[in-house]
């Protein structure tokens, strides 16, 4: 039954959007971070999404028995969380412990507005995937009712 495969497509969509939310939350939390394990200020992170084949091997095995095969139904996956190469913001604050000899502190180049917009867009996309998921669920539920005596 191919309808079940759609759960994994919508699920992959929700998972990818949740990763985006996590990364955005990390960016916001570290907007003022000057120290990181690799040294220097925190670098803004960005999620890279890519279309990927859907379903697992077991589902494919079941589907091999003559079910409808849509031409490579594509799910989505996070391929990479990339660090931004934008130069850090420099703020003049000679009293800061991480200030350089000239008195400038390097802060991550994170624009709160940009992060908020990204977060809203991720939330909307998440909801869209959730709706698609629920539509699939109601279709399957209706389908199961067909066998009930009426």
């Amino acid at each position: 039954m191919d309808l079940f495969k759609i759960f994994s497509i919508s699920g992959a969509g929700m998972s990818a959007q949740r990763s985006r939310m996590t990364v955005v939350a990390g960016n916001l939390a570290n907007a003022e971070t000057t120290r990181t394990p690799e040294g220097g200020p925190y670098k803004r992170r960005d999620v890279i999404l890519q279309a990927a084949p859907a379903g697992d091997e077991f589902a494919d095995m079941l589907a091999a028995g003559g079910a409808e095969r849509v031409d490579e139904p594509l799910a989505v996956e996070v391929v990479e969380v990339r660090q931004s190469s934008r130069p850090p913001r420099k703020i003049f604050d000679p009293h800061h412990p991480d200030a350089n000899p000239e008195g400038y502190v390097s802060l991550p180049d994170i624009n709160t507005m940009e992060e908020m917009v990204d977060m809203m867009s991720a939330a909307r996309s998440y909801e869209a995937n959730l709706s698609a998921f629920n539509i699939t669920k109601s279709m399957i539920r209706r389908l199961l009712e067909i066998g009930r005596g009426s």
């Binding site: 859907a54 409808e68 139904p73 989505v76 698609a132 699939t136 279709m139 209706r142």
Partner: protein, 142 residues
């Protein structure tokens, strides 16, 4: 037994319609999942082109119609050729997105809803015809 047929032409046609609706649901869900993937092109499954050849059998003489339908329903449906990438209306107006993605989330959600309602319509009709069959099997008793 020759000539005996439990499931009617209508039931088989409804079944095919539901299979194609299910596949279209898959294509549309994949579009929604990839709404933020750079370079992804929205895809669409042409429901009519698949179901039309089956629906056109209606005008054939009954015996030939039933035989052809039997063959059609037994073979896996050819959906690959029915999938295409529709021209995005947003893009033609120069409002396209910079990341090369052609998914319009609101349009996809609309089509998803429409498709699932059409699926349920076929499902309702199918269960009605099955209820008729059940009525006959129970010799008219409820």
């Amino acid at each position: 037994m020759a000539g005996f047929k439990l499931f009617s032409f209508t039931q088989q046609l409804l079944e095919i319609s539901m299979r194609v609706r299910g596949a279209r649901h898959e294509v549309l869900s994949a579009n929604v999942a990839n709404a933020d993937t750079p370079g992804y092109r929205a895809r669409e499954l042409d429901f009519q082109s698949v179901v039309r050849s089956a629906a056109e059998m209606q005008d054939l003489p009954a015996a030939e119609r039933d035989r052809k339908m039997e063959e059609f329903a037994a073979a896996p449906l050819d959906l690959r050729s029915a999938i295409y990438e529709p021209e995005s209306p947003d893009q033609s107006h120069g409002e396209g997105r910079l990341d090369g993605n052609s998914v319009s989330l609101d349009r996809q959600m609309g089509m998803l809803t429409e498709n699932s309602l059409a699926y349920e319509a076929s499902l309702t009709l199918l269960s009605r015809t099955l209820a008729g069959l059940r009525y006959a099997i129970s010799e008219g008793k409820r």
